[in-house]
Each structure stands twice: as C-alpha cells, then as structure tokens.
Symmetry: C2
Subunit: 364 residues, 2 copies
C-alpha cells in the first residue's frame, strides 16, 4: 500500500510538471503553487493514495476550477468555495465524501485538489481524469467509462452556489459554462462523483506522481543539461519546434480563452514557422501549414532556457519557447475517445493521426 | 374559511383576466388555459385557499415559467418539469411542501400554478407576488418582505435541473437567467419559499379571484356593453389610448422579449400617437412624447372590440387596441419598491408619477 504525505515544499515541482502536461491550460502554476503551499502550511500535509488502495465503495470527488484561465489568474478563490461545494454535493448525494481527486492536469487544477485535501483532511487519489487538460467538462475519461458529470456543484467567491443534474455530460458542460460565465468567468466545481471500483476505468493512474517527477526533472536539469530534453524523455515526447513568439491573438469568448499564436523558428527550425491554435488548451500545432500534433495528443509549450511551462494566457511576443508533442492516454485514441475530443469535435476538417506517426523519422 | 374547488371550465376566464393584469407578459392566455384545463380534467379540481386560511407553518412554493414569452408559446412543458422541480426543492429544504402559489399574474404564470396544483393535489393560495407581471426574478413583493428567492430550482423539458442558492435575489436572477437562456430561453421554476406567516407581507391577496372576475366581466360585456370599460371598472384604471398598431419592433435578447410598439390614434385619440416600450411586460407608455403611464403601474393592452388581452409577443401591425393604465400595489410605490421596479431601474431618466396623477382630469 503506497500512502505518501505531501508537504508544501513539493508543490513547486508538482505545479510546474502539471502546467507542462496541462498543454497550456489548467491554470497558472505560480498561482496554483501558492494556493496549495498556503493550505498545506496551515492544515498539514496531504495524504496521497494510489488507485488500487482506494476501497471499492469509496465516494471519490474531483475538485477543480472552471472557466477562462485568463480570468482565474486575477480572480483567486476566497477559500469558502470548496467547502460550500463539497457540503452541497454531500447533501445532494446523502453520502459522506471519502476521497478527493483531480479532474485534469494543470497548474491550478492539479493543485486545487491539494488545497481541498489539506483543508478537509480527506485523502487525495494519485490520478487524474484526462492525463492532460481539456477545455470542456464532458471531455473526461469518466464520460467514456459511463460516469455522469452530475450531480455537479459550482460555487463562486461571492457565496453563490449551483447544483446541476443533467440528462448527459454535454448538458452539464452547457449549463455549467453559462453559470460560470455569469459568475465572472471562473468558478469552483465538484463533479463526476465516482465509486472506488470505477477509478481504474475512469482515471489515469499516477498522474500526480508523474507531474512531480516531471517538474523535478526540469528543475534539476537547469544549468546541467537541457531542461526541454529532460521533459521530453519523461513524457515520451517529440520536439516539434524551437522558436520565438511573433504573434498572439487571444480573446475571452463563451467563457473560454481562445486564440492563435505564431512562432518564428530558431536554431534547427530557422526559417520555418509554427502556428498554435488554442481553446484554454493548445489544440493544434502546424509547421509551415503541416499538422505536427493535434488533439487529443499533448502540445506543450516550454521556455527554451528554463523548461518552465508557458500557459496559453501567459504567451507573449518575444518569448523563446520549445514546443513538445506527446502521446495522450490510449483511451482517447479509440473511436469513442476521438468522438469526444478528436480534431473534428473542435471543428478541424482532418482525421486524427498520432503524434509519433506525424513525427516519425523520415525513411532514407 | 373560504375554500373553493376550481374546475376546468373556469380557466378561460382566469387566463383572460390574468393576461390583462399581466401587462403584456406572463405568457399567452390560450396556451395557459389549455395546459390548466387538461391538468384539471385529468386530475380533478384545484383547491383554492385564502391567505388567512393558510397555517403559519405552511411551506408555500410559487411555481412559474421563466424566460421569453415569445419562446414559451412554442416550447410548452413536457409535464415532468414541475414534478422534478418540486422534488428537487423538497429534498433541498428537507421539508414537505404544503401549498403552491402564483409568483406573477399572466396568461401562463397564473395558470401554471393550477397545473401544478392539479397534478400534485396540493392546495393553491389565492394570491400572487406582484399584483401584475415583471420581467426579473427579484421584482417580487417577497424581496421587499425579506424573503429569499433561493433555494430556487429550474428545470427544462429535456430533464435537466438546476438548484441555485445565491447571496441575494439579484444574483438569483442573474444565474437563473443565464441557465434559462441555455435551456432554450424558457424554463420551469420554483422559488421564493415562504412560510404561511409571511404571506400577508409578501403576497397580494385575492389575485386569482380578481383575475377570474376580470376575465368574466370582459367576456360578459361582449355584445352588451364595452368590454374595455368593463375591465377599466374592475381595475380602477384609466383609458390611456385607443388606436391601431402601426409598428412593432421586437427582439429576443438576454433571455427577454424586448421592443417597442407604436399606435396611431383612432376615435377620440385621432391624430395622436402612442409608443409602448416593453421587456416581456409593458414598461412605459407615451402619448406624443408625454409619459401617460410607467412602471410599476400597470399598462394593459386589450383588443378594442373584444377586450381580449394582447401580450407583447402577440402585438401585430393593424391590431385595433385600447391601452389601459392602472395603479399598482401600494407597496411598489414606496422608496424600496421604486428602487426595485421604478422607471430608473429600467434605465428611464425620470421619476415615477402615479398613473392617476398623470391622467387626472385637467382643471378648468
């Protein structure tokens, strides 16, 4: 049985690694780290448990923020949202919540579960529901496993709360999104209640350990070896591009941060250009018009020198970044997975090709 | 103790009278009448009780539709919404609901409580929470009496439900409106839970009897005397204008039916013109640029020949109509009432003047 106590000093690596796998979304790692450090210092370490150590009848609840990351950076939680949300959900379930979980990987959405776990004393499951971040609520492996997003509770920093019960997970996304927009474009949410027995099908195991390992490897590589290469090794990824940001077009619409970024190549990519399209998360990367990675595979943007993750809302003109493509959880590559999060769902008129195939060494 | 059994054959008069006092909003009386007649024929008569006969500890719940009346006409309830809403509210309260009530006067919103009462067998309180219809949730006498709009439940014909708990009644309006828009611009709602002891402060007594009397008087006047005059007598109203609709500009925006209608005078109003501004309900009536009636007083549009009410979504070019102004409940004329529903709240740059003062006979 693997039970670990996570202390505040480990949150910086966790937040960094999570923001890398967050593919540009999931929140700012600096804000996420501070929130978790503060909560753990105040309430004590968080107990992290493996999926196989969660009892079959456990009531497991993912905690996350919803909304536009551009807004979350400036509108941090009051501290009461999590408690109101969990209390409302417990009353709706008529059952005590036994474990917390992480819905997606990201600078805030992998650390908010630590905040909630520290404040409630509940154990946190070492896993997440995507193996990355995605912009919409129904885009989780639990949807593929037949788990309902609802009952879902949304709360805001003012003290408002909303309990949704919808006919399917897409309607949960629609109604929760409109409430989140009205709440000021960000909210705290608990959703996707699972039994312990469902976790193996519904979650990606070991995510929180993985992001800590990734965050640590990048930090330790600095000044010794290339941090981007260190990240690529752990992610089983591909270096898609190295360059300089020349253009970012970003707007907050429909409760999302949407936009496009353009990079001019440097080094081995000199003379070439890369375009990134995002909706909270990076969806598509094209080099000189050719797709080099796309959803559901991961597209991760790192500062070239430090390997520090760059979220979509932090992308700025002049940043020197490296772009990594990495394979997603294999369940996303099934027909049902691609229906939910494949390129066509996001409006792109092409079929999914795995990132390792798009970036295979060309035969001589 | 006054307890009456309301049968289906009385719904036509009730719906007609309610649509007159609904000041253009509150839903189409034909649709409302059919829904109530069908429910009463299937389940039996509705028990109507006076406010003074409701026990002090009764749990009284108003039932209504929310959204744009333009949409409600085409998107009628599935029949399950009311039950889902009441069940969700009961679970949230942890208390059985003992009485139903009417939140506003209107062709649908005065008949939906009859549908709910017929289907559940609960008694219906002879009253409403406005003495007219208003477009936004917080615009009810219970707000003035310190009653919270939440817990509020919204349901739709697809089977989705939302339970809101907000910090004040204005936030209830904001979040409920955005959910209603996403649900397709109309929803079923239960809200503003009251104890029996609060009804005297929070409701207008006798509204449902009044609208039946009004609807009957208009019908009985046809072919014998002027139906519009019959209505004016019961409403203690003023004939503001008689004319022909020449122009209607209507749009559904932000979940409301908004617009303007222009009338060219006929008979004693020949050569003059009237402009009506509405947001679900009529807000302001001006004759040749001079205000002749405005919120919170009632502005009611009736077909001149038949006295049949014309809702804002039914107004059409060529309709020959009479416009009545009538005094609102005195609680709306207090400073707190005018803050909530006075002309300035709706964006008009003038103070409220009572309709009887605006239409006083000029001194000779």
């Amino acid at each position: 049985m693997t039970v670990r106590q996570i202390t505040a000093d480990r949150m910086a690596d966790i937040a960094r690694g999570a923001a890398i796998l967050g593919t540009g979304g999931g929140g700012d790692p600096y804000v996420g780290r501070l929130l978790a450090e503060q909560a753990i210092r105040r309430h004590g370490p968080v107990t992290l448990v493996d999926i196989e150590d969660v009892p079959a009848d456990a009531v497991v609840v993912p905690v996350a923020m919803m909304g536009a990351p551009t807004v979350m950076v400036e509108k941090t939680p009051s501290g009461e949202e999590i408690h109101t949300a969990l209390r409302t959900l417990r009353d709706a379930l008529g059952q005590e919540i036994t474990h917390l979980a992480c819905i997606e990987v990201g600078g805030i959405n992998s650390t908010i579960p630590f905040v909630a776990a520290a404040e409630t004393g509940l154990p946190l499951v070492d896993a997440d529901a995507m193996g990355r971040a995605f912009p919409e609520l129904q885009m989780v492996l639990p949807t593929l496993a037949g788990v309902s997003t609802c009952p879902l509770v949304l709360t805001d920093e003012k003290g408002n709360s909303t309990l949704l019960r919808t006919i399917d997970n897409l309607w949960a996304e629609r109604l929760a999104r409109s409430v989140t927009v009205e709440m000021g474009c960000s909210s705290m949410t608990v959703q996707c209640v699972m039994r312990g027995a469902q976790l193996r099908d519904a979650l990606v195991p070991g995510t929180l350990s993985l992001v800590e390992r990734l965050g640590r490897a990048v930090r330790e590589a600095r000044g010794r070896r290339d941090p981007v290469t260190a990240a690529i090794e752990i992610m089983d990824g591909h270096l898609l591009f190295t360059g300089k940001v020349t253009d970012v077009s970003r707007r907050t619409s429909g409760g999302f941060a949407r936009g496009t970024a353009r990079l001019a190549g440097t080094g081995t990519h000199d003379g070439r250009s890369l375009e990134l399209q995002f909706q909270n998360e990076h969806l598509l990367a094209q080099v000189d018009g050719r797709v080099v990675a796309g959803v559901p595979d991961l597209i991760c943007v790192l500062e070239t020198d430090s390997g520090e993750p760059v979220t979509t809302e932090a992308l700025r003109y002049g940043f020197r970044v490296s772009v990594i493509g990495a394979p997603c959880d294999p369940r996303w590559r099934t027909a049902a997975g691609l229906d939910l999060v494949g390129p066509r769902y996001f409006g792109y008129d092409h079929d999914y090709v795995p990132v390792e195939r798009l970036n295979a060494p060309s035969p001589r």
